[in-house]
């Protein structure tokens, strides 16, 4: 597999956990999610914004998150997402999968000194 393809597969496989973790902290809207992924990864992960919204919808259909339009006084109507209990469980199990995966990977490929 080429480097590009590897990056693509990694991105695809990690989209859900990225979104779930950010929503674990707080209710957020789409732009916030895209911005935070870019910022926190320091540009390492360029999120394909066009696929963000369909992904959110798909996650909603799977019952992992819940979206609702919120109209606050003096602000524009925005769609906020929050984690469902189902999403909490999925996040926890995905985290443990990624953690053990990283640990294993690090032991073999030695990314960090840890």
């Amino acid at each position: 597999m080429g480097i590009d393809a590897l990056a693509r597969e990694l991105k695809r496989g990690s989209t859900e956990i990225l979104l779930l973790s950010l929503l674990e902290e707080a209710e957020r809207h789409g732009y916030d999610l895209a911005r935070l992924i870019g910022e926190r990864s320091r540009g390492a992960i360029n999120f394909h914004v066009a696929s963000l919204y369909p992904t959110l919808y798909r996650m909603e259909e799977k019952g992992l998150i819940e979206g609702r339009w919120v109209e606050k006084a003096g602000q524009r109507r925005r769609r906020y997402y929050r984690l469902t209990p189902e999403g909490q469980k999925t996040l926890a199990s995905q985290r443990s999968v990624w953690e053990s995966f990283f640990e294993g990977l690090n032991r073999v490929a030695r990314f960090t000194n840890a």
Partner: protein, 896 residues
């Protein structure tokens, strides 16, 4: 701003509109992006621009925005491969449509930049297309006659001497025609003017007198009727004519029953037998009618001269025809003195055969190729300039590109976008260029010298348009490639994080490429300036060359006295009366007339002098002629009124005659001469005048003698030329001259009324055209290089503002900063200049043969061009340099 509406519009163009929910969210995203950009300090426009870029990426990825159907898991589409392929292609196409729309919007936003590129391209492509169309039409387009590669122009020499007029004799023609195995046919023709009457207005038209074999030799078929036959040729007087298609359309309104009708040429009735299509006209399309020409045998002293053309047998080479023609020429009868008079020598006949295409174009081939090369150089420098501008712009657009890449556009997408932008700009400029070429083609016939070959074959046909289209694409790719390559190397994090300014002192790769391009532009401008200067100086040399007479303040005019209306006596009376009346005009200082062109050679005569055969052209002049024409008397004297009154047998010779035929001190010598009829008489040589270079300054002088008119009376020709010297402006005398002739006889046509200087200019039309065109190209190249240098230096100053600010903060004075920037600009120019001068020295060898009176290594040119370029460079650098010196270090450093 209603972002939702804008997004819906953009997406609907791609054919994919996601559902309302997603649209709402995208609108929300766009709004948030806008607000965030504004909060970062971006201007309204810039913020909108950033959102636009985002929407562009969404539009490019529109299919992804479709809400996935139930059943899909993990977001990975598992469609069948064919469908995936198809959908990629559709995405690609909608992407291209989008890129085009985006590029168009960008042009509108950066109207001045786009306009600049389009103007530069239009000038470059317009000039190149026009010159290519001339080169193609003249040098490359096949000749119109069938199997024209077998047509050869044949010429004759005697003992290596070329004839003084015409190029083939009746003697050689008949000897070869009777027994020819290498050629299918041989045709003789000559061209003259005739007065057309009997059909509409009276008009002087060009008529070719040609043997009946001309048409089969050319392979021409008549449009109507037939051509004349050998029988028509022998009939005396001949009574038939073939019309050109143009004359037939103009005078007979393309009447299909024209065959059998009658016209008059020089008063002689002729029956129309056929019409020749215009594209097959020979020798040129100015010829409007063809009449039969019978080549009579050469006997005694009779030799007639004409032009000749032959068609080679299939498979025969020109060299074989040359061998055969020369061999047949050994059998020609001796025509003695006449041969001497015409050829200036008597020796064996030698024939040369040159393919028609080469014969037509040989004089203009090299200049055209040189001019085409020059205009291509101009185009290259224009394209280089655009590439340089694009590179500068690419630096400014670095953030835009980085944002696009960050938003998910791959390197291929970004490259495609840039290439589409360049292509659109290039093709628009190219279209404007072709429009310019169309305009130039309207004026082209008046720009090209009258004797320029194949002018009617020049046009904007399919090959020319295809050429310029290919050129446009090539040029667009060339100036689009640099920024595209740059975009591929883009480092996202760096581009987004840095502040857009180069680190102090360091040079970016882009800056280096631009400096290289700039040096190249200076080099090209240098080459073109050197070429233009050499051609210009050569033209000035030609103009001021000493021709042995003074052409200023002389008016010339030709009188047309057709033989059907004017007897010899009537002609003499009329010319004498006109001369008399002109002498009475106050500003006129001298009037004479000539049977041939003024001061020109018109045939020659051979005579015996002290039992030797000599040949020279003789001219009948009036006393005072030499002084009036500004000719130099080298020794001896002019004719006097006393010579005329006493009828003394005296004559004047020119320098070449004296050198060729006379002893060291010829003046005062008596020689026994028999001019034309009558036995030898003792004649006194009273003076030697300097040669007059009639055939152009590059041709050597020829032997000439001058007799005074009364002593050696010859008949006034049918078209004598009046020569009038005046103390005032010669051109202003023209109306008076016309009025005098009209009062004398209203039926006399006065034509080619021009000053002697104008006459010289028509002979110099080609060198003038070459010099003017090259000067134009060089001027444009200089302007382009100066503008380019200005751009590069302004850019450098902007990029280095931090460094310059630090320098002035550390105590550098304004003059130091100006010097710094100037030095950089001039160093760059000097590098380009050095390359350009070396290149010029190498390239000018190819034009050495086209120059007169100036060496291709002309020191003045090689001294002046660097000065001009350095001055232009200094001028282009001074504004950026002054701007740099006025930078406020505090402000610059604070801003960064």
């Amino acid at each position: 701003m209603d972002w939702k509406q804008r997004i819906r519009l953009e997406l609907s163009r791609t054919g994919t509109v996601p559902d309302e929910g997603i649209l709402d969210e995208l609108a929300q995203h766009a709004r948030a992006m806008y607000d965030s950009a504004r909060a970062d300090g971006a201007s309204r426009e810039e913020a909108e621009h950033r959102v636009d870029l985002q929407i562009a990426v969404w539009a490019g990825d529109a299919p992804l925005l479709k809400r996935p159907a139930r059943g899909h898991s993990g977001g990975i589409r598992r469609a069948c491969p064919e469908r995936a392929h198809l959908s990629t292609r559709v995405e690609g196409l909608t992407g291209i449509a989008y890129d085009i729309r985006y590029a168009l919007r960008l042009f509108r936003r950066q109207a001045s930049f786009s306009l600049l590129v389009i103007v530069i391209m239009a000038l470059g492509i317009g000039a190149t297309t026009t010159l290519f169309s001339v080169t193609y039409g003249v040098l490359m387009k096949p000749l119109p006659w069938p199997q024209a590669d077998r047509l050869v122009v044949v010429k004759e020499t005697r003992g290596g001497n070329r004839p003084r007029f015409g190029s083939f004799s009746n003697a050689a023609y008949l000897a070869w025609r009777e027994q020819a195995s290498t050629i299918d046919g041989l045709a003789a023709w000559s061209s003259s003017m005739a007065t057309l009457t009997g059909v509409g207005e009276v008009e002087r038209i060009r008529v070719a007198t040609a043997t009946a074999s001309l048409f089969p030799v050319l392979g021409a078929r008549p449009l109507l009727g037939s051509f004349f036959t050998d029988e028509d040729e022998r009939a005396q007087p001949s009574a038939v004519v073939v019309l050109s298609e143009r004359l037939w359309r103009q005078r007979f309104s393309a009447d299909p029953t024209v065959v059998g009708r009658s016209i008059q040429l020089d008063g002689r009735p002729r029956t129309v037998v056929g019409v020749l299509p215009d594209h097959l006209a020979y020798p040129d399309r100015e010829t409007l009618a063809w009449v039969p020409f019978h080549v009579r045998p050469a006997t005694g002293n009779f030799l007639s001269m004409f032009e000749a053309i032959a068609r080679l047998r299939p498979g025969a080479a020109p060299s074989q025809a040359v061998a055969e023609g020369s061999a047949r020429g050994r059998d020609v009868p001796d025509t003695g003195m006449t041969t001497m008079a015409i050829f200036g020598g008597n020796g064996p006949v030698e024939i040369s055969a040159v393919p028609l295409h080469e014969a037509l174009t040989t004089d203009v081939r090299r200049p055209l190729v040189v001019l085409l090369a020059a205009v291509v150089l101009l185009l290259v420098t224009a394209v280089a300039n655009i590439a340089s501008l694009q590179l500068a712009r690419a630096t400014a657009r670095r953030r835009e590109m980085a944002i696009r890449a960050a938003l998910g556009a791959g390197a291929a997408r970004v490259t495609r976008q840039l290439v589409i932008e360049s292509l659109l700009l290039g093709l628009t400029g190219g279209a404007a260029g072709v429009a310019l070429a169309v305009l130039l083609h309207r004026v082209l016939p008046s720009m090209l010298p009258a004797d320029f070959p194949r002018v009617t074959d020049v046009g904007l046909g399919v090959p020319v348009i295809a050429f310029s289209f290919a050129l446009c694409v090539l040029a667009s790719v060339a100036f689009g490639a640099a920024p595209a390559l740059r975009a591929r190397r883009l480092n996202l994090v760096e581009s987004l994080s840095d502040d857009g300014a180069a680190p102090a002192g360091a040079r970016t790769r882009t800056a280096r490429v631009r400096l290289l391009i700039m040096a190249g532009q200076v080099a090209i401008a240098c080459v073109l300036l050197v070429g233009a200067s050499l051609f210009g100086r050569s033209f000035v040399e030609l103009l001021h060359a000493d021709r042995g007479f003074d052409p200023s303040s002389v008016l010339t005019a030709r009188l047309q006295l057709p033989n059907f209306a004017f007897t010899a006596e009537r002609r003499s009376e009329l010319v004498a009366a006109v001369v008399e009346r002109l002498r009475a005009v106050p500003s006129v200082t001298f009037v004479t007339y000539s049977n041939g062109p003024p001061l020109g050679i018109f045939g020659g005569s051979a005579f015996t002098m002290d039992a030797r055969q000599v040949q020279a052209s003789s001219r009948d002049v009036d006393p005072g002629y030499f002084a009036a024409m500004g000719m130099r008397i080298l020794s001896g004297r002019d004719f006097s009124d006393e010579d005329v009154a006493s009828g003394r047998p005296v004559f004047v010779v020119n320098r070449t005659f004296a050198r060729q035929y006379l002893s060291d001190r010829p003046v005062g010598q008596h020689v026994r001469v028999s001019f034309r009829e009558g036995g030898p008489e003792p004649w006194e040589i009273i003076g030697i005048v300097d040669d007059v270079l009639h055939r152009g300054v590059t041709e050597p002088g020829e032997p000439e003698i001058y007799l005074y008119r009364e002593r050696h009376e010859s008949r006034v020709a049918f078209a004598p030329t009046l020569i009038v010297r005046t103390s005032g402006d010669p051109a202003s005398l023209a109306p008076t001259l016309r009025a005098i002739v009209r009062q004398q006889d209203p039926s006399v046509v006065v034509d080619s009324v021009m000053t002697m200087e104008e006459r010289l200019m028509t002979g110099l039309a080609r060198p003038r055209l070459y010099a003017v065109l090259l000067a134009g190209f060089a001027g444009l190249a200089l302007v382009i290089a100066a503008v380019g240098l200005f751009g590069v230096m302004s850019y450098t100053v902007a990029q280095r503002s931090r460094e310059l600010a630090v320098r002035s903060a550390l105590g550098a004075r304004r003059s130091d900063i100006v010097r710094l920037v100037l030095r950089e600009g001039l160093t760059l120019t000097a590098v380009g200049l050095a390359a350009g001068l070396l290149l010029s020295a190498w390239l000018t060898r190819t034009i050495a043969a086209l120059l007169y009176g100036v060496s291709e290594h002309d020191p003045l040119t090689y001294a002046a061009v660097p000065i001009v370029l350095l001055l232009a460079a200094a001028l282009a650098c001074i504004v950026p340099a002054r701007r740099a010196s006025r930078l406020d270090p505090l402000q610059v450093l604070k801003a960064q």
